[in-house]
């Protein structure tokens, strides 16, 4: 089929931010389609400015376009204004690369990284002229694929997605291409869709929900079992053993219009073993795989030269933990090629003085705010969540920041954590106030932003059994903080809408029955639910009630050890008994050290998958490792004293 551009362009004069839909980014491809090439449409089910920077999508885009037997293009969820025009002009979802209709592609592959975009996934499937329910599709329809962190609990989307990919996508996309290529070559005959799905189900890391039976006992899930021989009982996640083999994206896309994270992004490691118990990303991406420092340097200097960006972000789940991060940072900042005009950012900074000294080095050019995430207001609670930052660590970091010229410090917290008491919640105000007092010693106008999000328990974490706080309880806790901080002008309190937290909770640990709820919310117009201006809790409440489902049962109820969880048949490599033990340790307020630098406690990932951490240094980073009891101001050579770990022989 030909390009839809002549029909799209007249609509662009009538919509906001038309540059979202034109493609033309530096690094974008206009691949040549053909009957021998499997065509992937990679879809980020959110607005362009959120989706474009997504590194996972860009990595797969390059890997697929490098293959002789595949082509890949990109699509993003059209904003509501264009969607209305597309529907009235009968225009389908289109790629931004060559403006082809979604129906021209063999696979519609979604990157799903947040639960509140689920209704957008349905909307995009529908805009692609594909039946939203997988059961209604025939061989003429595009295969619907989904990957990303949310695929680790695939059940809420199981009725709509043909194929889930669990874990790293770098290798598995090629295996899927080969299976789909055969299907395409065979002419996609009637009845062949079932066969290709069965073939895909035997690819490691692939979960095909229609190949499984789900049985219930009243509200309880009893089992999810394969329907056919050869379909795996447990789907194990895929893991790329060594990041050095995958220096992607090689040509990061440079958008023509404003997007989030508009800078060069270089992934310096994947996985994290800090063991923060609330953090799904840290649990499902183990083990730690560092990129060689030389490769990081090459990717940074090549990337800056090619893109013309003046900012680079070294991305990971905790960038200051990269072995020898100070050396890498100094190398980039002092590289004459970069003309001294490059600023560097390290997302997810650890909380200690060492990271501030690194930050000082990197923000020579442009000194923006500095963000720390203590996550909880009291040491007791931080032991529960295993975010082992002492109050002194935070004050040391904040003091270092203010003394070195920063005027704004941002602190991230969660509320509604397991065992949280009001005194823990109020600890947030206490910490923020003390940070302001430290800042005042350096600047009269020092201020602190305390950002508070409601905690949503996530699958494959030790907190997956915990009953989430309801919206009223979260609102009450936010109210406590607001009252307590009323007189503190220098503390800027921000909080996330507790109702959105509740809706996220429905989808986070939902089972297959939640699919009907997602469909109903979408049918009633509930798209872009992660955007506060479009979020509508009433839609979710009414949909739950209409399908006889209880929000309390799905969200605020504590789960028991023997309960079958909707994601038990999907494995991130973590043993369920390890997670349960870690949950018990959490309740006993015991911390757990980082296994990169201390003996293995056998969470299951490395031992079961035959993997190892790939780290350049087996010593904790200079300046100390939070929670190891080191004197963080004293530098690297202080002996490590581990905090007690209970409950394990």
């Amino acid at each position: 089929m030909t390009s839809l551009w002549p029909r799209i362009e007249p609509l662009l004069a009538k919509v906001q931010k038309p540059a979202r839909y034109i493609g033309c980014e530096d690094g974008s491809r206009t691949p040549e389609h053909g009957s021998r090439r499997v065509a992937w449409l990679l879809v980020y089910p959110d607005a362009y400015e959120v989706g474009l920077p997504n590194q996972g999508l860009q990595i797969l885009y390059e890997i697929l376009n490098e293959r002789d037997d595949a082509v890949a293009e990109r699509a993003y969820a059209p904003w509501v204004d264009l969607e209305a025009l597309m529907r009235s002009h009968r225009l389908p979802l289109f790629s931004v690369d060559t403006h082809r209709p979604a129906g021209d592609f063999d696979l519609l592959a979604f990157n799903v990284s947040a639960e509140l975009v689920y209704t957008n996934v349905l909307n995009c499937i529908d805009l692609a002229s594909v039946p939203v329910r997988a059961a209604d599709r025939g061989p003429e329809h595009t295969l619907v694929v989904a990957g990303g962190h949310c695929a680790f609990n695939p059940e809420p989307l199981a009725d709509f997605v043909d194929v889930f990919v669990i874990g790293d996508g770098e290798e598995v996309v090629s295996e899927i291409t080969e299976v789909v290529g055969e299907w395409k070559a065979s002419g996609r005959t009637p009845g062949s869709r079932e066969r290709v799905l069965r073939d895909l189900a035997s690819v490691p890391g692939v979960y095909v929900p229609s190949m499984y039976d789900v049985s219930y006992e009243g509200p309880w899930l009893r089992a999810i079992t394969p329907r056919y021989p050869g379909v795996p009982e447990h789907v194990e996640k895929r893991t790329v053993a060594d990041l050095a083999d995958w220096p992607y994206p090689k040509q990061q896309l440079v958008p023509l219009t404003e997007v989030v994270h508009d800078r060069l992004n270089v992934e310096i490691f994947r996985g994290c073993t800090r063991g923060c118990r609330f953090c799904q990303a840290g649990m499902i991406t183990r083990p730690v795989r560092e990129r060689p420092a030389d490769q990081v340097r090459t990717m940074v200097s090549d990337g800056l030269r090619r893109t013309g960006y003046d900012e680079v972000s070294l991305t990971s789940l905790s960038s200051a933990d990269f072995s020898g991060i100070d050396g890498v940072v100094a190398g980039i900042v002092n590289d004459p090629v970069n003309c001294g005009q490059v600023s560097l950012s390290l997302p997810s900074l650890r909380v200690d003085a060492f990271t501030v000294s690194v930050a000082t080095e990197i923000q020579k050019v442009r000194r923006t705010g500095l963000t720390f995430a203590p996550e909880a207001g009291a040491w007791r609670l931080r032991q529960v969540i295993n975010k082992l930052i002492r109050e002194e660590d935070l004050y040391g970091a904040v003091e270092a920041a203010y003394s070195q010229g920063w005027r704004r410090v941002k602190l991230y917290f969660m509320t509604g954590l397991p065992t949280e008491m009001d005194e823990d919640t109020l600890g947030i105000a206490h910490l923020a106030r003390n940070c302001v007092a430290i800042g005042r010693r350096y600047h009269k106008g020092a201020s602190v932003t305390a950002s508070v999000g409601g905690f949503v328990p996530k699958p494959h974490t030790p907190f997956q059994w915990f009953g989430q706080n309801g919206a009223a309880e979260l609102q009450r806790k936010v109210g406590l903080l607001r009252d307590d901080l009323r007189r503190d002008r220098a503390v800027n309190l921000r909080w996330h809408d507790p109702k959105a937290t509740l809706a996220e909770g429905i989808a986070s640990r939902g089972d297959r029955r939640i699919g009907a709820v997602i469909e109903e919310v979408w049918r009633r117009g509930g798209v872009f639910q992660e955007w506060s201006e479009h979020f509508d809790m009433a839609l979710w409440e009414e949909a739950m009630a209409a399908h006889g489902l209880s929000i309390d049962w799905y969200v605020t109820r504590h789960r028991t050890e023997d309960e079958v969880l909707p994601w038990d048949h999907v494995s991130a490599g973590l043993h369920k008994d390890f997670l349960w033990q870690d949950w018990q340790d959490a309740l006993a307020e015991h911390g757990l050290p980082d296994c990169r630098w201390t003996p293995c406690y056998d969470c299951g990932v490395c031992t079961d998958y035959g993997l190892e951490h790939v780290v350049a240094s087996t010593l904790p980073p200079a300046g100390g490792s939070q929670g190891t009891g080191q004197d963080l101001s004293a530098g690297g050579d202080v002996p490590v004293t581990l905090l007690p770990v209970g409950g394990r022989g």
């Binding site: 551009w5 007249p10 662009l12 004069a13 038309p18 540059a19 839909y21 034109i22 493609g23 033309c24 980014e25 530096d26 440079v254 023509l256 219009t257 404003e258 800056l304 030269r305 090619r306 893109t307 013309g308 960006y309 003046d310 003309c339 005009q341 050019v365 442009r366 000194r367």
Partner: protein, 237 residues
Amino acid sequence: MTRLRVRFQKLGKVRWTSHRDVARMWERACRRVQLPVAWTGGFSPRPKLSFGLALPTGAESLAEYLDLELASEADVDLDGLPARLTPALPAGVDVTAAAVVASTPSGGRAPSLQEDVDSCGWRVGFAPGVDLAALADRALASSSLLVERERKGRLSVDDVRPAILALSAVVTAEGEPELEALLATRPRALRPQELLRALDPDLEGTRVCRTHQWIERDGLREEPLAVAPHAAWARAQ
């Protein structure tokens, strides 16, 4: 300090980017070709680039201009500059000329594009069947044309007739009706969309293109860069 002026086009899909987007494209392009641009000081340093009158999002242009200030020690090969810059810019943004902006005869700083440009030439395309000639004649014959327009969030009703310096209906080689307009930029620039509203509120153009920017000096109209595309220019001191 050397000031360079470049002329560029903005054609095709890239016309849907905004004025701010174009500024960012240029910042990246200057870094990609390692053009030694001077930087502003202060908290958030930026390269010293200054653009003329913003082109409306969605409009094409054959005549966009940009002034960039070079670091004092810089030595730039002007001849090769358009060919170096164009590949560093998105498809559809082509640099067609570059020259040094000379100081005023008295040695003072030459005025900026914003200060200097008095009028812009525009071509607006329409679907076949619109009687543009009658509309143009009526507009030119009227003594005033009122249009409601917004500036910085405030609505005002302005007489835009004095800003219409020339207006004519033409038919392209492809047989499509077009308006050619010369619109003043002072005291306030008349935008092509505002012109259409003044002619007929229901009038909808298909394509808008800025063809020229003009500076009036001593009764003569000249372009901000009086050079032919890709002309070779001796380096001024």
